[in-house]
Amino acid sequence: MKRFRFNQQEIVFAVFALLFLVFSIFLNGFLTTENMLTLLQNVAVLGILGLAMAIVVIGRGIDISLIAALAVPPGLVLQMVQNGHSLPFSLLIALLLTIAFGLVNGWLIAYAEVPSLFATLATGLLLAGLGQAVLFQLDVVQWSRGMDGFERLGQGTIFGIPTSIVMFAIACIVVAFLLRQTRWGAYIYAIGDNPYAARVTGIPSRPIIVLQYVIAALIGCFAGLVMAASVNSMPTRVFNSTLIYDVILVVVLGGIGLSGGRGGVLNVIIGTLLIGTMLNGMTIMDISYAGQNLIKGVVLLLAVITDSFLNPRNEETAQQGDI
């Protein structure tokens, strides 16, 4: 007899639905179209980063250097334009830097066989250090005249929907297409599920791993451009923040197991929505910073504990690499 079981994705969705319901009933001004759009807009960049992380995590890796890819190439665009280069040329250089960065990550992990956690931890520091020491004059790279028009990537609306949400939607569609409709996507799932079996089957696993990190870096850079456009500057110091934990949180909370091979774009969307709803509700209630952290921690703990009650792990279900 098949027992009815919730998986983590459904639990998180239930928590999100409950939270949403409670806020809608008790919180004045929460359930309005405008506030919903604001809610989504505030987590759009986090969501885009979540997509990048999802691709890597599905392939049984992790990319700690994502925030460096978010901060440094877009920062370079702003800095170069400030120094008098043209916008297209600056974008091209940043694009090349991002691809090179992804290739280095991928090569270290796929060919040099350095564990992804350590490889990306080191390369992230390297890229951020390079930015701070060589590329940028100041931590916060300001918008300059030459960038005018480009802010539309993160500000304003398209058919009444804030642009950053549209960007998140576009990224979702592209990543979903990649993962579900292309052969490469299928390979990523195969490698994540069982890398040895994947290799034996004849899947070019090393090039596919490199591809994962290049795509992740590119999405990271895209998220950075949206962020810079949205706040009219690039605070490159974001690398030192806890943003990367939020990104991992979105992915894991959404139900993409760190053991790889499972999950998809939908999980990222659910994880992002939960974080977004919590942040928005607490801002409306004007809860103090410390209180917000407390509530965030409790909700996340609840989700994880419920999951481990409903889906207990043992030696058979646990996989190598499970955190």
Binding site: G29, S241, T283
Partner: protein
């Protein structure tokens, strides 16, 4: 009356003597007795600088200003960048105490962490100058902004702009652990105590982060579209606050007051564009010059470190549309580095 003749005669004699020896003196020059001891007191001395991090307008400005003032006198200027890491900063201060520079210029991350260390440094014979962010220990000199005053003047600006409007304001704080943020908040409270008609609809910490400030402001503006003013705690973060106001189409309707070091791109340009309505600047080059002056004075005074203590609070420059165009309201980092 009788004695009047004597001084006159003496003066005449002196003049005659001066007429004889004068040309000779002019040829040899007159030695100013205090400049050599001053030069000796400075030459070869080490001044150590411990900012919370480099790479932002304030710390880069202080660095460039101090270097420009002190290096020509043969002062060795060393830097220990804590890079936003309080632990690393405390270690840097500790190791500097054993290296014994003549002066330490310290930018505290909070009130407590360095306090004991700075006291030890002065006991060991090192002058300690604290910048902008003081610690619980009062050292030879404090050079910096009066955060309470900044909070008060920003809030006064916002309260004035709110007259006859909704009287609803929002506060975007920095990081809760930072004393600069807590002191500024005190200033805000001081003014609000006098204006009970003002209603604070939101008072949240954005961690000095522009993206977080934008997210908070967006939500607050959706809930309170009739908001009349925002008190922000740092211009580097309030770029995000301003972006949210602009996106809501409320530029000019919501009065945004902030503060910062007065660097042209971060302050005057943004006031001119209408992003900020008031930016209280603690003019970094002036602070750097005051610090350099204090170092020169302390080293040449022969005073024992810790024996004299004083403060130099920075005279604030309120940057508004009226003076944002002037050459003197703001400064350029590139000029300071020349």
């Amino acid at each position: 009356m009788k004695t009047l003749g004597h001084p006159t005669r003496a003066t005449l004699a002196a003049l005659a003597l001066a007429a004889l020896t004068g040309p000779a003196l002019a040829q040899q020059g007159l030695d100013e007795p205090f400049q050599k001891p001053f030069k000796d007191a400075l030459a070869g001395k080490t001044v150590a600088y411990v900012p919370v991090a480099m790479n932002f307008d304030l710390t880069e400005g202080w660095y460039a200003g101090l270097k420009k003032e002190l290096e020509p006198y043969g002062v060795k200027f060393v830097i220990r960048d804590a890079n936003w890491n309080t632990n690393a900063g405390a270690q840097a201060v500790t190791s500097l105490i054993s290296e014994k520079p003549a002066v330490m210029v310290v930018h505290n991350p909070d009130v407590q962490t360095y306090a004991k260390l700075l006291q030890r440094a002065e006991n060991e014979g090192i002058f300690v100058i604290q910048i902008n962010m003081g610690s619980a220990y009062r050292s030879s000199a404090f050079v910096g902004a009066n955060w309470v005053e900044i909070g008060e003047r920003q809030t006064e600006g916002v309260v004035k702009a709110c007259e006859g409007k909704s009287n609803k304001i929002a506060i975007i704080q920095g990081a809760l652990s930072a004393a600069a943020s807590a002191y500024t908040l005190k200033g805000v409270e001081n003014v609000l105590a006098k204006h009970p008609e003002i209603k604070v609809v939101s008072s949240q910490a954005a961690d000095w982060d522009a993206a977080k400030a934008k997210a908070i402001t967006q939500t607050v503006l959706k809930q309170n579209p009739d908001l009349c003013g925002i008190v922000g705690f740092w211009d580097g973060m309030d770029i995000g606050t301003a972006a949210a106001v602009k996106e809501a189409g409320l530029t000019g309707k919501v009065f945004l007051a902030t503060s910062g070091g007065g660097e042209r791109k971060g302050a005057c340009e943004l006031v001119k564009s209408g992003a900020f309505d008031l930016n209280m600047s603690y003019d970094v080059p002036t602070q750097a010059a005051q610090m350099a002056g204090t170092i020169k004075w302390l080293l040449s005074s022969g005073a024992k470190p810790g024996s004299i203590k004083g403060s130099e609070y920075t005279t604030l420059i309120p940057i508004t549309k009226e003076n944002a165009d002037s050459q003197t309201a703001c400064w350029n980092l590139s000029d300071l580095k020349k």
